[in-house]
Amino acid sequence: MHRRMVRLSFVYACLCAGPITLRAQQFKLFDRTVQVHGFFSQGFIYTSGNNWLTMNTLSGSAAFTDFGVNMSSQVTDKLRIGAQGYDRNLGQLGQYHPSLDWALADYRFKTWFGVRGGKVKTTLGLFNDTQDLDFLRVFALLPQSVYPTDLRDASIAHLGGDIYGRISLRHRLGDLSYTAYAGHRSDSIYSGYPYYFSSFGAHITSFGGLQYGADLRWSTPLKGLLLGASRLDEDITGKGLAPNLLDPAAGLVPYSEASKADWTNQVYAEYTVGRLRIDSEYRRYWRNEELAGGTSESLADVRGWYFSGAYRICKRLQIGSYYSRYTIHDVVSGALAALYPPATDTSLPANHDYDKVITARVDLNKFWNVKIEAHFMNGYGSGPYPNGFYTQVNPQGFQPNTNALVLKTSLNF
């Protein structure tokens, strides 16, 4: 009760402070202008069928809060520095443990070549780096088939560096933008995968590793049309304690898992014309892991795609809709094979999640919006790699269909 009061007070304070801070967003330091920006969002989800996103949504849950604050400064003509702190509470995830979202130095030598280093948001598809910023789009939740919010940590940022640039093509063929990166990914222990593991009584203490990849996007000569492709490779190691599932009497024993092959391919298209915006993406995630210290192996083939449209009816009102499709094909071999039956039939609700969504967004002013969104889901895709539905919050078992009502408001300055 006390925690809820504190949270509501915080929300109220943010709502009141919003208009004030809008005017106080920069100051001078060592004769350089420092900009300060922030955002805050609060959501509520009510579902039928299953609890979703680790929240108790069957009863209605407002454990859907996030916020961030950043500071940045253009130090010289070519050098910019900045950092952003981020915090969230999404059901059982995040739990208000703050994190450094990004902190970087960016040096742009030329339009066609720049470098940035530090903790950097990972460029992957259209929205990976902006997935927390729901005020940038009409939807309250991005298509979970491609951007699962419970697995945000899996791709959100890396500690390392990027090279990037933009090249204008000859003969009016448009522009090419590229980003290539390498670094270390580190998941919070309050993120989706460790939470998934806790369903077995396991405790993940560290999860992360090398991450490298590239993105290439083409602003085509057709005005408003962007095409792109991304590739992400990872070498992940997870460590912790887990029950010996083959010998429960042994209690908790050291557990480890490691990537054998872990990659993501993503292709995407965006088209904007007038008040209409259309997006579509396809992601394939291939995850071959050695489990339980190499005694077992998991081979997961996760595929997701969506098609979305958004239309601005007037300055204050936008509507949108998308269809999102997620499937998982997973086979475990080795010592744990007996405990994990193969998930190979993607027509089963356990191995897919098809989501039809309609939404409306009202902009109360330039900095504050309210959204209402409905999801009609078939399947719960709760295989050996999670996707929004967890057994811990669905101890009664899963229903094949889930409908969800999402309300969300967000502020930014």
Partner: protein, 227 residues
């Protein structure tokens, strides 16, 4: 008598000029530290989308915007192809991912001119009618259907004294055909006050561009500021 005739002609043509003017009644201004006198529409767009922070001549630039109003809307529509809502969303995506800063956004032409005048590298836009003391006005070059050309020699168009005294200004859009060796061999008026357009066309015929292996076309916007 002659000037009176000119005045009548100008007055008679004003309805046509003003019908054209609202969407194009914008001039691009820059701080005196910016070396160039002209900027391509493509480069202007890249500057305002924070994809470039320096021009081809090496000048550092930073964009300055108006917060709202018809000049702002016209500039976004003509040069960026975005609505204000789209542009603000674009800037916020940069700001919250560490990939850019929120550009300076000011309330009026006067504020923009004052800021651009005192800020190294500042590049903004104001109404054509706005007083632009202390800043330079850049000609905006719209690339045609061939390779981009660099303007080597410019001849300032003559501003008809009568129109200037009457405070009649605006922008003129010309379509240039440039020979391989760089001379302007053809000029077509696309819009603007006809008297100003004639003056602009006469001057443009004497411009010299960098040579290339083939003929090029360019659309050029030339502002006439009566102040």
């Amino acid at each position: 008598m002659k000037s009176r005739t000119l005045l009548l002609v100008a007055a008679g043509l004003m309805p046509f000029a003003s019908a054209y003017a609202p969407a194009r009644d914008v001039k691009v201004i820059a701080n005196s530290s910016v070396k160039t006198d002209s900027i391509s529409a493509a480069e202007l767009k890249r500057v305002f989308l924070e994809q470039n922070n320096s021009l081809e001549d090496g000048s550092h630039v930073e964009p300055v915007l108006e917060k709202d109003g018809p000049v702002h809307e016209a500039f976004l529509q003509d040069y960026l192809g975005k609505t204000d809502d789209d542009l603000q969303t674009y800037y916020r995506a940069l700001v919250f991912t560490g990939r850019g800063s929120m550009p300076k956004q000011l309330n009026s032409d006067a504020e923009v001119v004052a800021y651009v005048a005192r800020t190294r590298g500042a590049l903004g836009y104001v109404s054509t009618a706005a007083t632009a003391d202390g800043v330079k006005t850049l000609a905006v070059v719209h690339p045609g259907n061939f390779a981009q050309r660099t303007l080597l020699t410019t001849v300032e168009p003559e501003y008809p004294e009568t129109l200037k005294q009457l405070g009649i200004g605006g922008t003129v859009r010309l379509h240039l055909i440039i020979a391989p060796r760089g001379n302007v061999e053809g000029v077509e008026v696309l819009g603007g006050n006809p008297i100003l357009a004639e003056s602009a066309a006469t001057a443009a015929k004497r411009w010299i561009y960098s040579p290339t292996h083939s003929r090029s076309t360019l659309d050029v916007t030339i502002p006439f500021d009566p102040h």
